[in-house]
Each structure stands twice: as structure tokens, then as C-alpha cells.
């Protein structure tokens, strides 16, 4: 009886999502210990409020970017330009929407320069172009992904500032705020975006051959080509998609703060996204990937940030604390370390 329970536990312990889930639960419990109100949820004005909702909502841009990054990393690539892409998308949206004060029927109303839908499409389109550019450098020219995307990481912020003339553009057009701050059926709107993207990706990777193709290309590009896969097209799509998701994240970020800041929007987001993917159990060596894991990873990072703020850690040390926790989690996930700690000593060594 006890034996089978242990076996079950051991089996569960080997599941790739076991450690991310445990880490997330531990962080939530930690938050709860410091703040008894943490798990409290309530409905006010037909909207769900609470720290948990807050964490989910705040993590939305990171979750989106991490999902895109997961696919890129599965092809044995990396995209460190997503932060800059976020800034570009925000700048395009802000530039096109802006908001001019006009008097309509005796009421002062802000109107958009360009119809909002068009502006949103343009912003996401620009971000997708950024991704395509990365994909062309990686798949077409054969550059190393980290170098190829480094170019846009540096240039992207410049482009964003050029678009905004080096200034922070404030947006006054009300309907745009819905993207990042709106509520639909009691839940924050960004969560619907994340759910839709996640659902789409899940369908693409499980119900079409995309998952198999991405893994094959990531694990052995040469053999994949010999088997008739069009590795270039797959890489191009994956990078473009990663850019597209960064673009959507950019809209959310920009709508959250009601402005576009070419310098700071999405700053270091690429590193958080890579971290989220890694925490979720996807190897940077490419191949097997876990979309759910990356979502969990993003939530871990956001919960950690929340814990640091809510426990009143002085801001000057919070990066150090964050690094220490991340280090611990990565150690826990390390196969080598686990084997070293848990494996009984070999018989031969005593002799």
C-alpha cells in the first residue's frame, strides 16, 4: 500500500512540470504567509479583484512573450530582441492613435488620429516584420540567433525613439485603454488574449504537425532537411510569430501605462522571457518544449516580484533577492545536481 503511494509520488516527481508547479505553489504560500489577504478574492462592480487576479493580469505580457520564446528556443534559437519589439509596437500604436481633443455636441472628446483597429494592426504588423527580419537573418543568412537578434535588440530601441521623436508619447484616446485595463465578463481583458494565444498554440502544436516539425528542426536540422522538412520556412514562421506576440504584449504594456516609452517599455523583458521558458523546463538546447511550463515560469517570476514588493524588501536589494531565488530554482531543476544529491553512493567507491 505504502509502496504504491511512494511509486506514485516518484512517478509524479519525474514529470517535467512537477518542479515548476511546486515552485509556484511555494511562492504563493510564501506570499500568503506574509499577507493573509493574499488568497482573498472578491467581486466588486461585477469584476473579480484580488492579488491572484493581479498577478495573472500583470504577468500577461510576459506570458505572451514567453510563449513565443518557447517556440524559438525549441528550434535551438533565441530571440533577445523581444523587449525592443515591445517598444516598437507601443511606439507605432501611440503614434497612430495619439488622441486629439475635439468638441463634439458641446462635450470635449478625444479622438484617434487613425481608426484604432487599423492602428493596432499596424503595431502588431510592425512587430511581426521585426520577427520576420530576425527569421531572415537566422534562416536565410544563417547567422547565429543570438547575434542576429542582438542587432534588432540594439536597433529596435533606436527605431522606437525615432518614431516617437525621442519623447514619451502619451495616449489620450479612451477606447485604447481597454486593451490593457479593460474587463470582460468580470476578468481582465489581457487574460483573454493570453488564453486565446495559448489555445491557438496548443492546437497548432498538438493537432497539426507543427510541434513535431519544430522539435525535429531544433534537434537535428540536417536530418530534418533530408527528411523533407522545409527548415527555413519553419524558422521564419517561428521568429515571425515570436515578434507578433511581442507586438501584442507591447500593446498591453503601452495601454497599461497610457503612453509609449521607447527607452523603457519592455526593458529586459527578453531576459525574463528566457528565464520563464527555462523555469518551465524547456531546454535551451532545443527540442522538447512545454508551453504550459513557460506559462508557469512567467507566473513564477511575477509571483516572485509580487512577493518582493509585498514583503517590503528594500528596492535596492530586490534584484539580488530575485537572482537568489532564480538560482535556487535552477539548481533544483538541474538533473546533475539531483542525481548527485539523491543517488546512493556506488559500491565500488568504498573499495
Amino acid at each position: 500500500m505504502r509502496h504504491t503511494l511512494l511509486d506514485k509520488l516518484a512517478q509524479w516527481g519525474r514529470h517535467p512540470l512537477c518542479w515548476p508547479v511546486l515552485t509556484l505553489v511555494a511562492l504563493l504560500l510564501l506570499n500568503w504567509a506574509f499577507n493573509p489577504q493574499f488568497l482573498h478574492l472578491e467581486i466588486r462592480n461585477g469584476r473579480l479583484y484580488g492579488s491572484l487576479v493581479d498577478i495573472l493580469n500583470r504577468a500577461a505580457p510576459l506570458m505572451l512573450v514567453a510563449l513565443g520564446m518557447t517556440l524559438v528556443i525549441a528550434t535551438r534559437g533565441i530571440d533577445i530582441s523581444v523587449g525592443a519589439t515591445v517598444a516598437i509596437s507601443g511606439a507605432v500604436a501611440a503614434m497612430l492613435i495619439g488622441g486629439t481633443l475635439v468638441i463634439q455636441d458641446g462635450q470635449p472628446v478625444y479622438v484617434a488620429k487613425v481608426p484604432m483597429l487599423l492602428a493596432l494592426l499596424a503595431a502588431v504588423g510592425a512587430a511581426t516584420l521585426c520577427g520576420l527580419w530576425n527569421g531572415l537573418l537566422v534562416a536565410g543568412v544563417g547567422m547565429q540567433p543570438i547575434i542576429a537578434t542582438l542587432i534588432l535588440m540594439v536597433a529596435g530601441r533606436g527605431i522606437a525613439q525615432l518614431l516617437s521623436n525621442g519623447q514619451i508619447i502619451t495616449i489620450y484616446y479612451q477606447p485604447f485603454f481597454f486593451v490593457g485595463n479593460g474587463y470582460l465578463l468580470g476578468l481582465p481583458f489581457p487574460l483573454y488574449i493570453v488564453a486565446a494565444v495559448f489555445g491557438l498554440l496548443l492546437w497548432l502544436t498538438r493537432r497539426t504537425a507543427l510541434g513535431l516539425f519544430i522539435q525535429a528542426v531544433g534537434l537535428n536540422p540536417v536530418a530534418s532537411r533530408f527528411a523533407g522538412l522545409n527548415a527555413r520556412a519553419i524558422l521564419l514562421c517561428v521568429y515571425a510569430f515570436c515578434g507578433l506576440l511581442a507586438g501584442i504584449a507591447g500593446l498591453i504594456v503601452c495601454s497599461n501605462v497610457k503612453s509609449a516609452d521607447g527607452n523603457n517599455a519592455g526593458l529586459l523583458l527578453e531576459l525574463d522571457a528566457i528565464l520563464a521558458v527555462t523555469l518551465g523546463g524547456t531546454s535551451l538546447a532545443g527540442g522538447r518544449f512545454s508551453l504550459v511550463g513557460s506559462l508557469l515560469g512567467a507566473l513564477i517570476i511575477q509571483s516572485l516580484t509580487y512577493a518582493i514588493y509585498s514583503t517590503g524588501v528594500p528596492p535596492e536589494v530586490n534584484l539580488v533577492i530575485k537572482a537568489a531565488v532564480v538560482f535556487a530554482v535552477c539548481l533544483l531543476q538541474s538533473e546533475t545536481l539531483r542525481r548527485w544529491v539523491f543517488q546512493p553512493r556506488l559500491k565500488g567507491e568504498e573499495a
Binding site: 507543427l210 536530418a223 530534418s224
Partner: protein
């Protein structure tokens, strides 16, 4: 060294090792005498590599003991084994291609002088070590500048430079051509005369009889027996390895069967197809229901030809045409679309995707052909995998086993399955029997003939002339990256092919 010729240098008693679900080695007694070349033979999975890994400390035994000159030893790592005088050279060369030959030989213990590396001394010593193996090369050049055979010799020199008394060679010949193998054997005989004991693992029967003194046969992890080479004929050796009698049909009889069949219509023809630096313009015609053998020495342009036909490399000149109209292939995709399949020579880097499962590897080409959205359901995938596992006799615990963990023969069968699943009309088999055991080899050759009987056009590439002669209706021979000639029907025998391979002066 106290050991005399009668006392074994290395001995194992009742050695055993199990892995979850598999008994890899059971009660194995093995004796290696000083100054002998001892071959360990067995099919894939017989326990050869487990034995080697136990002797070199990669694994620790579950039972039994290992004795070196009568003393029980417990090697816990390859370094520990090396310190005891047991050096190993693996099938794949484990050296640093970017470093010089001398650096590779003395890496980690370069001779020093006044605290600095004494390069002149290192090169002098390296030259001397290689000279003992009868190899005279410039040791200051990077290893990558030399062919695989030389790299293999450098690996041996490196092992010997550590004063090894025991040298373990794990299939060192699988990527060498005939001349290079001879060079290696001369080096082995040199070492033998110095009293070094050599444990040699190979799949090639010819090589066993060319160089070995004694043979130990393993089957299913157990020792079948230990024999002096002179007392064990080929037939007996093979039947002991396989555990049953293999009726080895003579080459002449096999050819007689072939000649009775009529060839079909042309499927693919190449006219003046060539690529600068790869292969000079050549003509080839592949016909449905016919095996075209492609023979030649290593580096004669066999694989390069296959790559041109399959659209991996694009030709500089000439044209490729399908009988039913069509043009040159810009990529393997185009070739696959036209009904071609290619089992590449380098199985590990160009064939299998090691971390993916057997099932995923089998369905990959078919899925690629169908495209992204016409996804094969999991049920179809499992059914396909199961079908080919049974049809080709792939030995695997499940369809979900990562293919990298299967033996070479089973990987090769899985690659064959990958192409069969696409229902091809032509297959290119580049060294399909390299590095796999006798039984699997026979099964694959049998399958080639069955496929051909079903109307497939087959291009069969092999460096073993006998194999090519056995299965081919026609044979094209390459020499120095150009077509030296083509043989058909009655003209074909091993001598004729060899004459073409070697050229006019022979």
C-alpha cells in the same frame, strides 16, 4: 611485467551487469593474453560494448571481478582504467580536430620546460610515437587536415603514449577503406610484437581472419565460447553469434536469381550531372524494379553522387530528368515529392533524430510530405510505426523509445521504414549495412531485394564490393570522383568490379 604468455594479462570472472529490464552481461569469463589480438564478436546487443565499458570503468559491475595481472581491480572511470594501463579507442574519433596532431597526442600532459610548454619536445615525441605505428606525418598540422584513418591512428598513438599494456579498439575500422584498414592492421601487429594485448571489436568477418589470434563470441550477454581463430571457420563463427545456422547463399547463386528478372522502365536519368569539387559529370539511369549498385573507394564520389540525385547539393552542370517529365530537384523536398527516398551514409547526423521517439522518426518524412495541416492522427502514427516494426523486425520495447537508444541495425531499419511509409518509387541506400551486425545486414539486404521486386528503383551504395555484387542488376563504378565504367548482367563479378575500382594499371 610478471605475466608470462600463459598467464592472462586481463581476466574477468563471472562478470555481470544489469540495467532496468535488461540483463546486459551475465557470468562472463574473458581472458586477454599479453601480445595477442583478441576479437570479441557478437550481434548488436550481445554485450560487447557493456563488456568494454566495464573493463574501462564507464560502468561498475553488479557481480564478478576484473583482474589485471592476477590483481583484482575496480576501475571507476576511464581515467582510472587508463592509469592502470587500459586505454580505449572508440568508433568515433574522440579528439579535438582544431588542435595539432602533437597537441592531441599529449593533451593534458604536454612536456614542460622551465614551466613552459616545450613544443619542440612535444613534436619530437609525437613524431616518434607515430613512427612506431609506421605513420610519418607533419605533427604540427591540425588533426582536421588528415583523413579519418590517420585520425584513428593518432587516437591509437595517444592511447599508447600513456604506456598502455592493454589497448581496446571499439570498431575502429567502420569508417576506413581497404587501404586504411591495412595500415591500421600493420600498426596493430607492431604493437602486438611489443607485448601489448589488444582487444578488438569489429563487425567485419574478413578483418577477424586477417588479424586476430583468438575470438570470444558473446550472445545475449553470455559467453558462447573462446576459440583460436584457426579452429573456427566463418560458418561456425556466424552460427555461434546468431545462435542458429545461417544459410549463406553463394554470391554466384544470388546473382543467378537476379538475372532472371526483367528490368522495368527508366524512372530517373542523369545526363552529364556533375558538381565542381564533388563529382565530375556522369550519366546514370535508374529503372523501376532494378538495383543499380554504386561502387568505388571511400572518397570516390559515391555519396556526392547520391546528394546530387536527391537535391541536397545542386549540380553545376548536366541535367536530371524523371521519365514522366520533370526537372532537377532544388531541395530534398522536391526529390521526395517526385517519389525519392534517401537513407544517408551518416546515420547519426543526417538520418535519425536521436531524441525523438521511434514513432516520430518513422512518420517524419510522410508527415513532411503531407504538410503541416494534414496531421496524421496519433492512431495512424502508432499503426504505421507498429506495422513497420513488425514488417522489418525492428527490436524495440515500445514505439515511444527515443531512437538514439536503439542499436545501429534497428536505427537503420527505422530509417528504411521512414521512407517506405512515404510509398516511394525510388530509394537511395548509402551504406545501409555499415556498422550493423551480420543478421541485421542480411535482413536489410533481403528487404532491398523484396522492395526491388515490388517495382522500386534502387541505388545501392556500399564499400563492400561483395554486397554490391550480390544485389545489383547493374553496377556503376566510380574512381577519383568520376564514373569509371558500368557493368551489367553477365559481366558482373567481384573481380571485374575491383578491376574498375583500381583502374587500368592493376
Amino acid at each position: 611485467m610478471a605475466a608470462t604468455a600463459s598467464q592472462p594479462l586481463l581476466e574477468t570472472c563471472g562478470l555481470g551487469k544489469s540495467f532496468p529490464g535488461v540483463r546486459a552481461l551475465h557470468q562472463v569469463d574473458f581472458r586477454l593474453l599479453p601480445g595477442e589480438i583478441h576479437v570479441v564478436m557478437g550481434q548488436n546487443g550481445a554485450g560487447k560494448s557493456t563488456l568494454i565499458k566495464l573493463l574501462t570503468g564507464v560502468y561498475t559491475p553488479d557481480s564478478g571481478e576484473i583482474k589485471l595481472s592476477g590483481q583484482t581491480i575496480h576501475p571507476t572511470s576511464p581515467e582510472a582504467a587508463q592509469a592502470l594501463g587500459i586505454s580505449t579507442v572508440y568508433q568515433e574519433v574522440n579528439l579535438c580536430p582544431n588542435l595539432s596532431v602533437a597537441e592531441n597526442i599529449f593533451i593534458g600532459r604536454l612536456p614542460r620546460r622551465w614551466g613552459r610548454i616545450d613544443w619542440a619536445e612535444a613534436e619530437r615525441l609525437a613524431t616518434r610515437e607515430l613512427a612506431e605505428l609506421n605513420l610519418h606525418i607533419d605533427v604540427s598540422k591540425p588533426l582536421a587536415d588528415y583523413p579519418v584513418a590517420v585520425q584513428q591512428m593518432v587516437a591509437i598513438a595517444r592511447a599508447m603514449a600513456r604506456e598502455a599494456q592493454i589497448l581496446i579498439l571499439d570498431e575502429p575500422t567502420s569508417s576506413l577503406d581497404a587501404g586504411e584498414v591495412k595500415q591500421l592492421f600493420d600498426a596493430m601487429r607492431c604493437l602486438k610484437e611489443k607485448g601489448v594485448a589488444i582487444l578488438f571489436v569489429t563487425h567485419f568477418l574478413d578483418q577477424v581472419y586477417a588479424v586476430a589470434d583468438r575470438i570470444t563470441v558473446l550472445r545475449n550477454g553470455e559467453r558462447v565460447g573462446e576459440y583460436p581463430v584457426a579452429e573456427l571457420g566463418r560458418r561456425e563463427l556466424v552460427s555461434r553469434m546468431v545462435g542458429r545456422d545461417i544459410a549463406e547463399q553463394s554470391t554466384a547463386a544470388a546473382r543467378a536469381d537476379l538475372c532472371g528478372q526483367a528490368a522495368g522502365a527508366a524512372f530517373l536519368s542523369a545526363r552529364g550531372l556533375g558538381r565542381h569539387g564533388a563529382v565530375r559529370p556522369l550519366d546514370l539511369e535508374l529503372r523501376a524494379g532494378e538495383v543499380l549498385g554504386l561502387s568505388g573507394l571511400l572518397g570516390s564520389g559515391r555519396t556526392e553522387t547520391a546528394r546530387l540525385l536527391f537535391g541536397v547539393d545542386s549540380p553545376d552542370c548536366g541535367e536530371l530528368s524523371l521519365a514522366e517529365g520533370g526537372t532537377r530537384f532544388r531541395s530534398p523536398r522536391d526529390a521526395i515529392e517526385a517519389g525519392l527516398g534517401y537513407c544517408p551514409e551518416d546515420r547519426k547526423t543526417e538520418g535519425i533524430i536521436a531524441e525523438l521517439t521511434l514513432r516520430e522518426n518513422i512518420v517524419l518524412a510522410l508527415q513532411a510530405k503531407r504538410g503541416l495541416f494534414r496531421f496524421l492522427s496519433m492512431r495512424r502514427q502508432l499503426a504505421l510505426a507498429q506495422h513497420y516494426i513488425e514488417l522489418l523486425g525492428i527490436k524495440t520495447p515500445s514505439t515511444e523509445k527515443p531512437i538514439g537508444q536503439l542499436s545501429g541495425g534497428n536505427q537503420q531499419k527505422a530509417l528504411l521504414a521512414r521512407w517506405l511509409a512515404t510509398e516511394p518509387r525510388m530509394l537511395i541506400l548509402d551504406e545501409p549495412t555499415r556498422g550493423i551486425d551480420v543478421a541485421a545486414k542480411q535482413e536489410i539486404m533481403q528487404q532491398v531485394l523484396v522492395l526491388c521486386g515490388k517495382g522500386l528503383a534502387i541505388l545501392f551504395i556500399s564499400s563492400e564490393t561483395e554486397e554490391v555484387v550480390r544485389v545489383s542488376h547493374r553496377i556503376a563504378v566510380l574512381r577519383d570522383r568520376a564514373k569509371a565504367g558500368e557493368l551489367a548482367g553477365e559481366e558482373i563479378d567481384e573481380q571485374a568490379v575491383l578491376r574498375l575500382i583500381v583502374g587500368a594499371e592493376a
